[in-house]
Amino acid sequence: MKYEEWSKISRIASKKSLWILHFCTGCGAIEMPPVMTSRFDMERFGMAPMATPRQADVLLITGYLTVKTLKRVIQVYEQMQDPKYVVAFGSCPINGGMYWDSYNTINQLDKYLPVDLYLAGCMPRPEGIINAMMELMEMIEKGEARGWEKYRKNYEKYKKNQEMAFKFGKVEE
């Protein structure tokens, strides 16, 4: 078999077994328990929480990110194995949300990490989360979720941006 065919089969296989990293940031974490437990039960879609970043496929950014958390999120993201996907929940990672003028939260997540999918809401409802996950599966099957390749390619730029946020603008030249 050719490489393309193999990769297609592997994509279909990986779409049906997504491990979600158990690292929820901010208020969106409150809508994850209903999705994970019996009422909405995401294991129907072959998704389950995973405690270690090495074995996880999906990183959920559930809400605002403070600079202190962003450091940990980036460490975690870099530990994850390729291919890896980032889904951003709610208003805050899109353009700041409620905390757009807070001194400690970043406004746009895609300046620091490549985001594969955005989901509107404050907080998104569990139905929205399930829909987003199904959309992500579709994207994986088609091979459209390529944030991790973008991160690898523009690594220097991302690093520079992250450094600027960590130092709150006081970067020594």
């Binding site: 208003s91 949300g97 757009w100 955005y118 809401g121």
Partner: protein, 158 residues
């Protein structure tokens, strides 16, 4: 204190699970009422003919989510041809903007679904076309005009 009693949990093996098989099944509450109901605070709808462009919604918005775009074809009063554009990367769905709206044109609808790869898609002009009353899901063809697209659409109608 008991060791045997916890095994009662096993009797649930024979019961129907209370899981909502969304999206194959609707989300219903205990009495079988379909959720979300009409009170859910989701995306806005705006009656552009009724709206007078008074900017009240932008003044009460604490998130700076509402900006304005001029639509010359829609002048209701003299000089008031601006209509709100809402940035759902800022909106918190509190509904204060609808409370201060003097004409009642701006409303919150139970639409809540918007999933996209592009960050820019989350900023659009609410119109009445956003609402599809029989089904609360967002109609993919009707919603989400950029201001430019909306202008085109209005021009075509006139």
């Amino acid at each position: 204190m008991s060791v045997i009693k916890p095994l009662k949990a096993w009797k649930h093996l024979l019961k129907r699970p209370h899981t909502i098989r969304y999206p194959y099944q609707e989300h219903v509450d205990m009495e079988g009422k379909r959720l979300p109901t009409e009170v859910l605070r989701g995306f806005h709808s705006n009656d552009l003919e009724k709206c007078i462009g008074c900017k009240m919604c932008g003044m009460i918005c604490m998130n700076d989510a509402i900006s304005y775009e001029e639509i010359p074809e829609l002048e209701v009063e003299k000089g008031k041809k601006i209509r709100p554009i809402i940035d759902y990367g800022r909106c918190c769905y509190c509904g204060l903007c609808t409370e201060v709206c003097p004409t009642g044109s701006l409303k919150l609808t139970p639409n809540f679904k918007l999933i996209d790869v592009d960050r820019e898609k989350f900023r659009f002009m609410p119109t009445q076309l956003n609402v599809k009353r029989d089904d609360y899901m967002v109609d993919e063809n009707a919603i989400l005009f950029s201001p430019e697209e909306y202008k085109e659409k209005v021009k075509g109608n006139k």
